[in-house]
């Protein structure tokens, strides 16, 4: 259900490229692209093409493990800005309280796209691939002119870019590279506030570029302890496989 309205870039539409061709980097404006789970740092392209290195870090969220408590959102805004505001959170949890599980909530994290439309859209280079921060895609606030092209360029719904209406600059998930209000070191190779604060341990961090699929970076982080609580351990979309925990599993030693 998530992210199933991926827009193709303006460039691809104009040149009538298929997505497959686009990702293979054929002609036009090619961007660093990934196939499967391989990490590719850069490859040979025609001269006029710009190749962006892939991020060295990605967030993965187990959509069925999330409890919708918003702790990640509150932590994110707090460690970045020193104040609490879900509108300033770079990870969003969208919820329908009346919804039917598992379609009652979604976790909307930035994918650190191999082909970042938001970076491409930025006219000043404010939104850039940060070499000193493991190639995370992040906004240099001093260069942001407030045009919001990045916000609208994000191909996913909801946009993973935020317009910070209080400090007046665009912002996005930087894997906690710039978190002055935290006693831990963030960024690629460091800690992420959402990962660490999530009470359900539903968010994890990986250095391997995830497979680019329609529904985003889903993962199943639930083990038998979760099932022991009679909660669903099946993969997203496999709810029909749900069974009650009838076979006793030895509990953790007390």
């Amino acid at each position: 259900m998530a992210d199933n309205d991926i827009k193709t870039g303006e460039e691809a539409q104009a040149n009538e490229y298929s997505r497959r061709q686009f990702f293979a980097g054929v002609g036009g404006v090619g961007l660093g692209a990934m196939l499967g789970g391989l990490v590719v740092k850069g490859f040979f392209l025609p001269e006029q093409v710009m190749a962006l290195p892939a991020s060295e870090g990605y967030l993965l969220v187990d959509t069925k493990k999330c409890a919708g408590c918003d702790t990640c959102m509150l932590s994110c805004s707090m460690v970045h800005h020193g104040r609490v505001n879900p509108s300033l959170s770079r990870i969003q949890i969208t919820k329908n309280p009346f919804g039917s599980f598992p379609h009652d909530m979604e976790q909307v994290q930035c994918r650190q796209c191999p082909a970042p439309a938001c970076v491409e859209a930025c006219p000043t280079g404010a939104n850039h691939v940060s070499k000193e921060n493991g190639n995370v895609r992040m906004v240099d606030e001093s260069k942001c002119i407030g045009c919001e092209r990045c916000v609208y360029a994000c191909p996913f719904t909801p946009s993973r870019m935020q317009w910070n209406h209080e400090d007046k600059h665009a912002q996005k998930c930087d894997l906690c590279a710039d978190t002055p209000y935290w006693n831990k070191k963030g960024g690629v190779g460091g800690h992420q506030a959402c990962v660490e604060s999530c009470p359900m341990r539903a968010i994890t961090y990986t250095t391997e570029t995830p497979i680019q699929q329609e529904y985003g970076y889903r993962i199943n982080l639930r083990n038998h302890h979760w099932g022991w609580l009679s909660l669903d351990t099946t993969d997203f979309g496999r709810e029909s496989d749900f069974t009650l925990p009838v076979a006793p599993v030895p509990p953790a030693a007390s």
Binding site: V84, F101, W163, W182, M200, T234, S254
Partner: protein, 686 residues
């Protein structure tokens, strides 16, 4: 002003349809939540003998400086205060409380709380968007259930924006955006029909259940209060608050991937009271359909579920246990969903089991003296029964439904059976018309606290450990997780009371002075930390931690640290209890003006006359030895309880003969103006 507060409280005059901003700073000494609500009530309700349906009744929906900050299990709750209409015989100044996300959202929308007074001539709802307040026509919402009402308001406020997308709060780039839908608290048909057990509901299952505030709002023609905001809450030391969250997660949280300990068998959610496992709020039923854990804003436990199908989303405890007679979970949850949608208090209307007793006794039935009309008690184990019963109350259908809509206690009074059935225990309602929650003959900080207060206290901080821990471990065939002696030692230290005998529930212990100190502590801690700072009752206090080395819980160190990290102010634990004592005494003064007397503070007869007959675990000290007793064959002694009143009143600074606050007691708390008002009305304790 301390950080955490956003600085203004919205006051709405529903009669004139005008609004006013009250400076939160004027009330900061009362903390938040209940304290601020009671203080504003004191100032603005001149005649404190009116009843809850009077337009001058003032109802507050109040947050705390901690709300919305992500402080662990202290971010999402809202406190409601005002005159209630549920209690019997007098609708005491009372409180309710609900979870979810409303308290956070009202702060992001620019207010520390919303206070309503007066009465609108036509149905209205209050629409708050980033500080802008409009009073909207609710004609099209009137008649809708609580879920429908919220979905309609979402459409009105955020248009056709999908739940998954950003909504622009303004018309310009800098208006702010949010992916959240408005946080709405509303009434259902029961509130509209002035049913005394009507609730307010927020999102799917967060109910402000006690006191009949749904009916109070119905009497004001107020259908809903909706808020949405994109503002920030300032935190004094964000890095410290993050550290606190991480520490609490590691030391006291349940590690869902590798727990330190877990239930020895599956399908026993109530074991989660000891482990802090997610999803334990259902207590007695585990989902038979795919489900996730679900939690309120900023919780570190996440005690509820969201389920396939949506019925039971966000419900806890007795809400989910409303009706289980046919053993089919899907029907059980359908009944709970009906309760939520119509907006009824499970803790009154689940008395259908008491009515069933009358039917079985041949006293009630179709066409009989207590005429159950077309409600099929003979088919009690069918969904048809519970649907007809619930709708009859919400819509006041027939004489039977109309009678029950006055609350089951008043129904019993009308049927002429209240005295008899509360003497035998057929109607087990110990005080103020509230259903028995925990055994009033035994678990006395619960029963004394309820009787000397305004309602069933519903504060579990001691109860989880003193009663439930030995019970759940016995239920799964384990020894208690901690000896009784060790448990009460932790209680004594964590509370600051100092004397473990405060938690001796033996036949002597429940009347002794240490017990009264423990009861007083419970009132003061609860009024400040739970009801004014809005730390969730299902997570705080943490007097004990079974998954932590040494068993030491987070209380009182973490409350104080969280307060400082958010507000920037130093508040000692001792001073926090004094503020709680002040708020408790302000309430006592209001009840005094409402007509409270010492003579009224008695339990119904079964508490004194009927002995306990089922094992009930509580720590007891007998012959100097501590153990978990099963407390059989116990009654509360009338004379000994009167002696309790003498000493408890004295302890709290109230006059022994009347139970009224004294000038000395109030003065000590900076409440001289309260003493003046009592004096003027001839109700100052001597």
């Amino acid at each position: 002003m301390a950080k955490g507060y956003v600085g203004k409280i919205l006051y709405v005059n529903l009669t004139d349809k005008t609004t006013e901003e009250i400076a939160t700073a004027d009330y900061q000494q009362f903390g938040g939540g209940h304290g601020i609500g009671a203080a504003i009530f004191w100032d603005r309700v001149k005649d404190k003998t009116i009843d809850g349906f009077h337009p001058d009744n003032l109802v507050s929906f109040m947050t705390s400086p901690i709300s919305g900050t992500g402080a662990p299990s202290a971010s999402g709750r809202t406190e409601i205060t005002g005159f209630g209409v549920q209690q019997y015989p007098i609708g005491w100044f009372t409180r309710s409380n609900f979870g979810g996300r409303w308290s956070a959202m009202i702060k992001y929308a620019g207010f520390d709380g919303v206070v309503v007074q007066g009465k609108s001539e036509t149905p209205v709802w209050i629409n708050i968007v980033n500080g802008k307040v409009t009073i909207e026509d609710a004609t099209d919402l009137w008649g809708l259930d609580t879920h429908e009402t919220q979905e309609e308001i979402w459409k009105t406020v955020t248009g056709n924006v999908d739940v998954r997308d950003w909504w622009d709060a303004g018309t310009i780039r800098d208006g702010g955006r949010t992916t959240a839908k408005p946080a709405v608290v509303c009434i259902g048909p029961a509130g509209e029909n002035l049913v005394r057990s009507a609730i307010v509901l927020h999102d799917a299952g967060n109910g402000g259940g006690q006191g009949g505030f749904g009916a109070v709002l119905g009497s004001k023609n107020l259908k809903a209060i909706s808020c949405i905001g994109t503002g920030s809450v300032e935190v004094a030391d964000p890095a410290d608050l993050m550290d606190i969250r991480m520490e609490m997660k590691e030391k006291f949280g349940f590690n869902v991937d590798d727990p330190k300990f877990e239930a020895p068998v599956p399908g026993v959610p109530m074991y989660g009271m000891t482990t802090n496992a997610p999803g334990y709020a259902s207590l007695l039923w585990a989902p038979q359909v795919p489900a996730r854990a679900q939690g309120c804003h900023g919780c570190f436990k996440n005690c509820r579920y969201n389920l396939e199908g949506g019925n039971g989303n966000g419900d806890i405890c007795v809400e989910g246990l409303y009706w289980m007679a046919n053993g089919v979970q899907a029907d059980q949850l359908k009944a709970t969903d009906l309760l939520d949608r119509l907006g009824l208090n499970v803790y009154d209307v689940m008395g259908h089991s008491n009515i069933l007793a009358l039917v079985k006794m041949g006293i009630a039935g179709p066409g009989m003296a207590i005429d159950t009309e077309d409600i099929p008690f003979d088919k009690y184990d069918t969904y048809e029964f519970i649907e007809k019963y619930t709708e009859a109350i919400a819509y006041r259908k027939g004489t039977f439904g109309d009678t029950l809509a006055e609350g089951l206690t008043r129904a019993w009074v009308k049927w002429g059976r209240y005295e008899e059935d509360t003497t035998t225990g057929v109607l087990n309602r110990p005080q103020w018309g509230f259903m028995e929650h925990y055994d009033p003959r035994l678990e006395v900080e619960w029963s004394y606290g309820s009787l000397f207060g305004d309602r069933d206290i519903n504060e579990h901080g001691v109860n989880w450990h003193a009663h439930w821990m030995p019970l759940v471990t016995a239920a799964v065939g384990q020894a208690p997780l901690m000896s009784a002696e060790e448990l009460v030692t932790h209680f004594a230290e964590a509370t600051g009371v100092g004397d473990p005998d405060g938690w001796d529930y033996s036949a002597e212990g429940i009347y002794a002075d240490p017990k009264l100190k423990a009861v007083a502590w419970h009132r003061h801690y609860g009024r400040f930390w739970i009801q004014s700072m809005l730390f969730c009752d299902w997570a705080w206090p943490q007097l004990v931690a079974y998954n932590n080395e040494g068993g030491v819980g987070a209380t009182p160190d973490y409350e104080v640290r969280i307060y400082k990290a958010v507000t920037g102010e130093d508040l000692s634990y001792e001073d926090s209890l004094e503020i709680g004592r002040k708020i408790w005494n302000l309430g006592r003064a209001i009840w005094t003006l409402q007509g409270r007397t010492r003579e009224m503070e008695v339990f119904t007869n079964y508490v004194y006359d009927v002995a306990t007959s089922a094992p009930y675990f509580l720590p007891v000290k007998e012959n100097g030895e501590w153990s978990y007793g099963i407390c059989l064959d116990r009654k509360l002694d009338r004379e000994k309880f009167e002696s309790v009143k003498d000493r408890f009143y004295a302890l709290e600074g109230w006059a022994v003969d009347t139970g009224w606050p004294t000038r000395a007691g109030l003065s000590e708390l900076g409440l001289d103006y309260v003493a003046d008002e009592l004096d003027k009305n001839g109700k100052l304790g001597a």
